[in-house]
């Protein structure tokens, strides 16, 4: 074994993989939440649909997204593999354990919380990512009046009212005073999916799992990297709790709830 494989097959090295991928996924969550705020705009989904085109065509974002898929797979596999190995480190269980006397339940439940998230990620990807890439998404046509800035949207259909398609994800052109944008209407897909109370329930439930996973996970990742210092620990704990365990999951949970309750 060379030093590199030796390093990553040691117990500390394996945790390093979980921590690096986990913290990378944390940065993804921030970007994902910020971008999806476009869902809350009352513009018939125009900014959200344009944002979707950007996220699926920009080469830099594409590279990062493949890194993300790899990270989720490595993270989930390594995390669960470590749990399996750690079970073997205690072949005979205690008759009585008082875990809450010495540790927070989130830190003892990372595998369960992660598995809920994994199920969610699969459902979520097949709902939107798969549909967008391989499924059928109708197009919408936005007409923006260049002088007044007024935008209206309507389904992109022929005279008989049948949905029309274009080859690309988006097309833009100007006719007279109007700027026409024809784009895949993922926004409508989102609105439709979130009419299903079961799906909305799953999304909200999964966001609790995210919150509890990151309540422990964010600060734990820093500790694994060796970053534990009295001058910074409070800040790490604060960001982990407020940003990653409260604000982000609340924002994500608000999206399905907004469509289900308000729209």
């Amino acid at each position: 074994m060379n030093w590199f494989t030796k390093m990553f097959s040691s117990s500390i090295g394996q945790k390093l993989i979980v921590a690096l991928t986990g913290l990378f996924l944390c940065t993804f969550l921030v970007v994902h939440a910020m971008g999806n705020l476009a869902l809350f705009k009352s513009d018939n989904g125009m900014s959200f649909n344009l944002y979707t085109v950007f996220m699926t065509t920009n080469p830099f974002i594409k590279v990062v997204s493949y890194l993300l898929y790899a990270s989720v797979i490595f993270h989930a596999f390594k995390g669960l593999h470590l749990i399996y190995k750690n079970r073997q480190a205690r072949p005979v269980q205690y008759g009585m354990v008082n875990g809450k006397a010495n540790s927070h339940w989130t830190s003892r439940s990372m595998g369960v919380l992660g598995t809920i998230m994994l199920v969610f990620i699969v459902v979520h990807m097949s709902n939107f990512w798969f549909e967008y890439k391989f499924g059928y998404i109708p197009y919408v046509q936005y007409t923006e009046n260049i002088s007044t800035g007024e935008v209206s949207g309507m389904p992109y259909v022929d005279e008989a009212g049948n949905p029309k398609q274009i080859k690309k994800k988006m097309e833009e052109f100007v006719i007279g005073d109007n700027k026409i944008t024809i784009v895949k209407d993922l926004y409508a897909e989102v609105a439709e999916e979130f009419e299903n109370p079961l799906l909305v329930g799953l999304y909200v439930f999964a966001m609790f799992a995210v919150a509890f996973h990151l309540f422990h996970g964010f600060k734990s990742g820093f500790q694994t990297l060796g970053l534990n210092h009295p001058r910074y620990n409070q800040a790490i704990q604060f960001i982990g709790t407020w940003v990653f365990a409260i604000i982000l999951p609340a924002l994500f949970a608000a999206m399905p709830l907004y469509f289900f309750l308000v729209k």
Binding site: K6, I12, N86, Q93, M96, N98, N102, Q223, G226
Partner: protein, 254 residues
């Protein structure tokens, strides 16, 4: 005597490492609240001996909280309900009259049960002999002040060096991880000038031995720190992670 207590013990009995083991229940009467937990076991064992039965095997040595031998997992926690004490420093006044108390050995693959509550902790010794030392040519000790050491570093090294190798950290950890112990032993040298020449090789060797012994990895639950009778901080674990990762990335030897 008035004020004496009665307790019911549910104790793990296991003849040897091949025996599967089981809990057995023993009522113990006339326990003074001022007795230590081990003295309460002495009463039980004297009774068992007079009854011609096998006494409960448990480890102990100093009975003053410094040797780290008295490993007992009491009511779901290493060394019982108090923080910062070993079992020998736990007193019966920490329990109530008529309590049922569950007592088990440390449970970890790396700590096989020898008999009843006594486990074999020589895995720790092997970790120590893999790197928990400094190699010096003996001779006259040099003047104490000839190697100046900053106050912060001296304090942290002293704090790490108070680890008594009791194994409560392993017992408390849901992963049976030895990271707190090993990191304390790595840190007490890593913080001092005398530890520098062998610093890189030491952390590699001790982590490798820790893994070879079959301890689990670290989920950073903090249970070890909370249960450590000497209050060893998990900042030592972060230091060991830093040292290990930094060494792996910077060793001259490929």
């Amino acid at each position: 005597m008035s004020g004496d207590m009665n307790v019911t013990l549910k104790v793990w009995r296991q003849k040897n490492n091949n025996d599967r083991g089981r809990f057995e229940t023993y009522p113990v009467q006339g326990v003074s609240p001022d007795m230590s937990f081990l003295e309460m076991f002495d009463i039980l064992n004297e009774r068992l001996i007079t009854e011609g039965k096998e006494p409960v095997a448990f480890d102990h040595d100093c009975r003053e909280g410094i040797c780290g031998m008295c490993s007992m997992f009491i009511n779901g926690r290493p060394h019982g309900p108090l923080q910062g004490v070993t079992t020998c420093q736990l007193h019966m006044r920490s329990f109530k009259n008529n309590d049922t108390i569950v007592v088990e050995p440390w449970r970890a693959k790396a700590f096989p049960v020898v008999k009843d509550l006594a486990v074999n902790r020589s895995a720790f010794d092997r970790v120590m002999s893999s790197g928990g030392f400094i190699s010096i040519n003996t001779g006259n000790a040099q003047d104490a002040n000839s190697t100046p050491i900053g106050k912060d570093d001296a304090d942290m090294a002293f704090a790490a060096a108070t680890c008594i190798g009791c194994g409560a950290c392993v017992a408390a950890c849901k992963n049976a991880s030895a990271m707190l112990f090993v990191s304390a032993k790595v840190s007490q040298f890593a913080l001092l000038p005398q530890g520098q020449p062998e610093r890189k090789q030491r952390v590699l060797n001790m982590v490798a031995q820790m893994d070879a012994e079959g301890f689990g990895s670290c989920t950073n639950t903090g249970a070890c720190e909370a249960e450590c009778p000497k209050g060893i901080s998990i900042s030592n674990i972060a230091r060991m992670n830093r040292d290990f990762i930094g060494t792996q990335l910077s060793m001259q030897k490929v």
